[in-house]
């Protein structure tokens, strides 16, 4: 559909003439877009307005009215926003002059925020000269679809047996082959405990270069990094191996890149395995600090069956949290309180059972990725914040959840037996 507005003189005539036999029909056609809570066609054909229903309530409680006249929904705006997002410049580098290699952590096969910052930094280094390409090295399954949007020109993916789990020696051997094959001008690693920091140091030791660590800024061929446990800033010429902190660069937003898959020609000679991964260890979630826990089940004033709650947390393998009311009433210890005066949690999944979502509580869960609420009140703030809200009695829903998990575990045991 084109955006050109075509006038239909006949229809306009009928619209003006209320005595025309087709007036009602044409009016309904046009009025379809008009009728909402704020504007509708009255019985006499006049447009009626409700001034109280105009606009929406902003975050600070003031009414906001958008008078730009742009349609808030519908085909036209969708087409427009698509055109807007396509306005990013397409960058294709067919013959890379040099590479900037980024070895991303890729937790769960997707770029983390830290990885994106590194890619932004790599972009900055690659764009300093003509035809520089950003090369992403990924170990293990790669699930991210937006690699090109994050500034990746080439992707080298290594997956399969010896790249699964913890295998720094095999990865190091692979990086060494890439170094010989493509000779990246710089290697950028995330300074993280997920593996990037270790791999970067191993590569630097193997290549015999002195890396810049804890780097947070790169400008004019010099880099600045923290030294002495964060007490000093060390500025030096940019070496070929860089271990960079989060927010070292701005993620790429203006350009789109090809993210073409690449393959190394040389075979990787896998070294003797001297460190063997025996797998993850089940840790007691109660022993993990609340601020660090990955999955939290939190209880509020809506919980009455506390034994059931503790049992559910145990079955789910979740760390226990609580709202202030639950703590003040003596059902939970003080160090379990989540919120402004408690702990600021960083859980990936936060399951709030019977918590209304007072602002002091919501502040504490700002950095949680997924929030699930169980509440009897569909209008409460926690339900508004939640990615998934179940309206119901918290005790009952948790009980059902425990039963469901018990059932599937039982089935699995039967299959295994």
């Amino acid at each position: 559909m084109s955006d050109i507005i075509r006038r239909d003189p006949r229809r306009e005539h009928i619209l003006r003439n209320r005595l025309h036999p087709d007036h009602g029909v044409v009016l309904a056609l046009v009025g379809g877009a008009l009728s909402d809570a704020a504007r509708w066609i009255g019985p006499s054909g006049l447009v009626r307005r409700n001034p109280h229903a105009v606009g929406f309530i902003g975050p600070n409680g003031l009414r906001r009215i958008d008078r730009s006249g742009a349609p808030t929904s519908g085909l036209r705006s969708a087409a427009k926003s698509e055109a807007a997002s396509d306005s990013r410049r397409e960058v294709v580098i067919s013959e890379p002059a040099f590479y900037i290699a980024v070895v991303a952590d890729l937790p769960g096969g997707r770029l983390s925020a830290h990885d994106r910052d590194l890619l932004g930094l790599a972009r900055q280094l690659a764009d300093a000269e003509r035809d520089g390409a950003v090369l992403l090295l990924a170990f293990g399954e790669l699930r991210d679809e937006g690699l090109g949007d994050s500034g990746v020109d080439r992707v080298l993916e290594f997956k399969g047996g010896h790249y699964d789990g913890y295998g720094p020696e095999a990865r190091l051997a692979t990086l060494f082959v890439v170094e010989r094959d493509l000779r990246p001008r710089h290697w950028i690693f995330p300074e993280s405990t997920l593996g990037g920091g270790e791999l970067g140091r191993r590569l630097a030791a193997r290549l015999g270069v002195r890396p810049a660590t804890q780097v947070w800024q790169i400008a004019d061929g010099r880099c600045t990094g923290r030294g002495a446990a964060g007490a000093t800033d060390i500025t030096r010429a940019l070496p070929s191996v860089v271990l960079a902190l989060p927010e070292c660069g701005e993620p790429v937003t203006d350009t789109r890149h090809a993210a073409t898959p690449l393959a190394v020609t040389a075979a990787v000679a896998l070294p003797l395995r001297r460190v063997e991964d025996l797998g993850a260890v089940a840790v007691d979630p109660a022993g993990v600090a609340l601020a660090e826990a990955e999955f939290i089940l939190s209880a509020g004033n809506g919980i009455t069956d506390w034994d059931g709650f503790h049992h559910a947390a145990k079955v789910l393998g979740a760390a226990e949290g609580a709202s202030r009311v639950a703590v003040d009433n003596g059902f939970m210890p003080r160090h379990r309180q989540v919120g402004a005066t408690g702990t600021w949690v960083t859980a990936r999944v936060y399951l709030a059972a019977g918590i209304s979502g007072a602002i002091q509580h919501l502040q504490g869960i700002q950095s949680c990725e997924k929030v699930v609420a169980i509440n009897t009140d569909p209008g409460c703030d926690m339900v508004k914040r939640a990615d998934l809200a179940v309206i119901g009695n918290a005790g009952e829903v948790l009980g059902e959840l425990v039963k469901l998990i018990g059932k599937t575990q039982g089935e699995r045991r039967d299959v295994a037996a």
């Binding site: 405990t193 002495a228 446990a229 000093t232 500025t235 460190v275 993850a280 999955f295 699930v372």
Partner: protein, 273 residues
Amino acid sequence: MLLREGSKGAASSGALKVAALVSLGRHPVTGRGRRAEQDARAVELGLSLTSSEHISLIHAGTAADETVQAMRGYLGMGLDALDLIVQPPDADVLPALATRVMETRPGLVLCGSRGESGEASGMLPYLLAERLGWTLVSGVAKVEAVEGDSMTVLQALPRGQRRRLKVRLPAIATVDSAAPPPRQSAFGPARRAKVRHFELSGQIDAEAADWTVSPARKRPKRLKIVKASSARDRFKVAAAKAEGGGGQVVKGVSAQAGAEAILKLLREEGVVR
């Protein structure tokens, strides 16, 4: 702690010899020399592995009063002696440490993940492992068992998770801050313990002379940049509620259906298996 092969009786020859590389720490507020936090954890881990006579403490650095005082902080944890390899200030301590480690021939070398003074790049264990050709394992939280020429350790991961690894000895292990905290340093034993001085010629770290070192600046806070082409878009971003909206609401269903919806999300996120 399990010691399967080489029971206590034969310990004198068969027990695992441990070397702990310790450095000069800095108190973050007062800036005074002290035992370094992570290195002290490494010593603590060593003490949990074998008795103190099988542990050698090694430090390479200047023989200044401050250093010796800080080293006594480690000795007060129940060790009798420390080897201080005297090096000129600003020397690259790697050759000295490698030589000393080769002389003592331990089965396991423990060190902190990162120093508290100087460059503190955390490269030393990696360079040492590369030079000696030993196994390196990083971020150790606990040593579970030592059996013959291998050991089982728990490696600390983010969010309090742990991974079990089997490591071939001889090995160099860096100790994570998730390892058990170090014991108090006792003043009397620290005074009585010996600090043995060794002289080894050192190489001055020439590269570091070109660096600019300044007190750490505060990092700029990242701003939320709104990329909007029109005033209307900017207005919408400013007026929209910061959070909320877009969430799925399951309403008017049985508790079981609600639980199923939750379980599906938990499975997708991988927190429940």
